[in-house]
């Protein structure tokens, strides 16, 4: 069963605009991770946010976590064509650190030059 569910499923924006993707999950978590997958490639880890954190930044990425709503968002500011990819949120199955990751179905982001 899916733990994370991303929203929207697809997003198309112009270069320079901001892109916001949302993720909802069902069970309690220890942390939540965001990954990027370029077409035909593997997953690249972007950022991990712990359950006791509300916001985290990494370059042009900003991730928020609301454990009361069981949701997270990924914001990419000043998007570039190279940001075109699918973005997945993932949580650990048992909410801890050793369980396998459960992924959502991803948001397909298209950034037009």
């Amino acid at each position: 069963s899916q733990q994370g569910e991303e929203d929207p499923q697809a997003l198309s924006i112009q270069e320079g605009e901001n892109a916001t993707m949302n993720c909802s999950y069902k069970t309690s978590i220890n942390n939540l991770q965001w990954y990027r997958q370029n077409s035909g490639r593997g997953l690249v880890h972007l950022i991990l946010i712990r359950s006791n954190e509300r916001e985290k930044h990494s370059g042009r990425l900003r991730v928020t976590l609301d454990t009361s709503k069981k949701s997270s968002s990924l914001l990419i500011t000043a998007s570039r064509a190279a940001d075109t990819a699918s973005y997945f949120c993932a949580t650990r199955r048992d909410g801890g650190s050793q369980g396998n990751l459960i992924f959502g179905k991803g948001t397909k982001l298209s950034v037009k030059p």
């Binding site: 942390n31 990954y35 593997g42 699918s86 997945f88 993932a90 199955r93 396998n100 990751l101 991803g106």
Partner: protein, 116 residues
């Protein structure tokens, strides 16, 4: 190594043939995971290892699929008597539970299996 290395990158098998995929985790990582991605969408967890021991195999199909992580050898995922629906990208990942960075799982580039 500093990255999860998967081989082969592409594999084509006729229905009923065996397929074997390999994965070298990042050096020092204790946990290895196998995932299956179909149609570039959902990632299905298959199995995980803690060193050479099976840690969680709840996602492994009961028949035809097997996996090993032996000391001093790449981990492997083997599919006996492949079926058309086994066509997918198989990702290997590794992680090391160690301090604040231990929860990050690093993925390989995947092995594309096509069953014809």
């Amino acid at each position: 190594g500093e990255e999860v290395a998967q081989t082969p990158k592409h594999l084509v098998r006729g229905e009923g043939q065996k397929a074997k995929l390999y994965c070298a985790p990042i050096k020092g990582h204790s946990y290895v995971f196998w995932y299956q991605q179909v149609l570039k969408n959902e990632f299905k967890f298959l199995i995980s290892f803690q060193n050479e021991n099976v840690f969680d195999e709840t996602g492994m199909p009961k028949e035809r699929f097997s996996a090993k992580c032996l000391p001093n050898s790449p981990c492997s995922l083997e599919i006996q008597a492949t079926k058309l629906e086994d066509s997918a990208v198989y990702f290997c990942a590794s992680s090391q539970f160690q301090g604040s960075s231990g929860n990050t799982i690093y993925f390989g580039e995947g092995s594309w299996l096509t069953v014809v």
